[in-house]
Symmetry: C2
Subunit: 446 residues, 2 copies
Amino acid sequence: MSNSIKLAILGLGTVGTGVINLINDNLNELKRRSGRDIIITEVGTRRQRDDIDTNIMQNSDLMAIAASDNVDIVIEVIGGTTLAKDVIMQAIKNGKHVVTANKALLAEHGNEIFAFAEENNVHVAYEAAVAGGIPIIKVMREALAANKIDWLAGIINGTGNFIMTEMRDKGRPFADVLSEAQELGYAEADPTFDVEGIDAAHKLALLASIAFGIPLQFDKVYCEGITGITLQDVNYAEELGYRIKHLGFAVRRDSENDGDAGVELRVHPTLIPQDALLANVNGVKNAVLVNSHPLGQTLYCGDGAGAGATASAVMADVMDLVRVLGSKDRDDQSNTGHHVPHLAFIPEQLSDTPILRADQMVTGYYLRVHAYDSPGVLADITRILSDAGINIDAILQKPAHKVGQVPVIILTLPVVESQMNLAIEKIEKLETITDKVVRIRLDELA
Amino acid sequence: MSNSIKLAILGLGTVGTGVINLINDNLNELKRRSGRDIIITEVGTRRQRDDIDTNIMQNSDLMAIAASDNVDIVIEVIGGTTLAKDVIMQAIKNGKHVVTANKALLAEHGNEIFAFAEENNVHVAYEAAVAGGIPIIKVMREALAANKIDWLAGIINGTGNFIMTEMRDKGRPFADVLSEAQELGYAEADPTFDVEGIDAAHKLALLASIAFGIPLQFDKVYCEGITGITLQDVNYAEELGYRIKHLGFAVRRDSENDGDAGVELRVHPTLIPQDALLANVNGVKNAVLVNSHPLGQTLYCGDGAGAGATASAVMADVMDLVRVLGSKDRDDQSNTGHHVPHLAFIPEQLSDTPILRADQMVTGYYLRVHAYDSPGVLADITRILSDAGINIDAILQKPAHKVGQVPVIILTLPVVESQMNLAIEKIEKLETITDKVVRIRLDELA
């Protein structure tokens, strides 16, 4: 068994159990592909489990497992950012490679963790941390390695996508669908991380770093959730040929032609064209669209969560590490130089490209303005937009739904947010305007 | 410059020029990611070119380049299966790694080439050979390495997809769209390889091998092109909620429940549900849908051809090989054990799973039957199908388009082809039937 790879799984929740099941189900495939025996030697679990193979040592002391001589690779699937960090740092210190699905931990402490891993000549692999079973980390770090990535747009939170899909398909309001998502187990009892976009922001921070070669900067991600999206806006968007999806965007702005140079990191509801493939990724599915030079647009779609999808990503990382740990012919355990850099670019080449503030960002807009149905109102609004240099792409004036009040829907071409802020401030000061202007970003994905 | 990686590009057509342009455009990204200088030292071209950097040696003797001491990696983009094979074998013999976009060569001679590469401790990388810029080879060999792949379905010929898209969108007949595709440069003057499905069959042979761990068996791929698809069938399919795409399928049949055990390798027009993402991949785009356990379905979509997309895939392979050739810290030039096996599974683990004959394959069917409009005809047809154990999923009887003749459209559930052959033979013998039965395969992609 000197030829075997010894795994420890820390945490036996959905994902940990999924990894055990995958190894049991696909033992033969794993061996046929890697030429090695991949075995679980230890699992970290708070309480003793009687459904685990008796050859596997169960231990509630995760720090001990992370230092065990009987482990080559530590799989961290306990979640959270405290104990998870401690055990990962412990594993690294003890020369173990680490596989983790922990997006929150990496988004917030990844720079420190990756630097410590490099110091100790081990790898921290994290395919499962973003978009579940979709191999977007491998694709961006390796398959697109020769491209200059211009931007990416991703449906990277399955709960949010389920809610947006149901609202559109069934005409059900947000709160209603959220309750169902909670019943189905798609959303947590406290859904804040999902519906406020925080989970998506964690993943976006990771994607942006490997896209552009910048340090992780979760704290600079502009983050807007879906709690404010109404059925009314969902329907107006459809009427205009668009669909509202909750998306994460990482955009590189090289020139100052249309705003300041730097990187936009943003997570927000977005109108995208109905006929874009991304607009047709429904339910809990995730998808990431990457635009790069010279490749152009490529799309990656699949399950973003669940035991099977996450276990697939975790074990793909293990299979990569098996090669790092030496092939069947070799036993060079320290061969880490050949691996892909943690953030796709070699550490000394990470750049300090500035992250743009929200008011510097450039996007199109969907505006819903409520006005008294008086003759000059549309002229007033369009004049304000035009004075601010904002180009209108479409206007939809709906019949009055309250007495004397009409909703006016306006789609604009891309504009710097600070300009839009000023224009909206002026519009809201018009005497004919009855409510706050509702605004949702819009992207043609072109 | 001992830290540099020296490339030779054999062939300066669209792809070779694309690779040169990519390296020029993205020099900084390549360096930032790999930590190495990636330089072209030699190019193989029949006639001297004056638009090539003077530091690059031009040589019409490709065999000499493939043996040159000044080259680490040979990029073969001349195409064809004769000279291309000679130069690749020459490069391998001389210890060079090879990157090729040559699907025909690999589909037909890959077993021999890969074995020779393993003997000589080098790699032959071929991401660009299938689906252009979509990293489907890397995804299946590495990202899905822990999964058991059940089946895959791919739009892997852009010309064919363009023709099918135009026929549906514009209601134009096959011959008409083919002429346009030729004018646009999407199709060759002799379009046989594209429209008869041979190009797709080459790619499918490669995909099937890395999906299931079987040797390349291009000669066993069942191959049907799109030349027989009429507008009439395109429209009936749409009316029934389906869309006709030209797809390559690789399907593993483990049990004998619904036919013989083995692998189906087939390329043919297929009705798939209109709302499947794959049905909405239009124009010259390619896409591959992979169903694996435990991951489930994932989809990969992008440009399947063109200079930029192909160069992206070629250079992704180069970036992988850069790691094999040693990192910036190491200079272990022989470190090949750490690499992914050519056909995803280690050579001694390739299996001899039988490839099923066409009459053993199991698919659903679209049938178009032309009958005299007489009372018992539908009863006769459905009785024949039912006697053969074929389940009908939908029937559409259209108004007569010739005097007294009605087209009847029948969709069936999956059935072994031999059964369908017998049933169709019987249907065609009915006195009320006026023409040959038209049949197109159907797959729910479920």
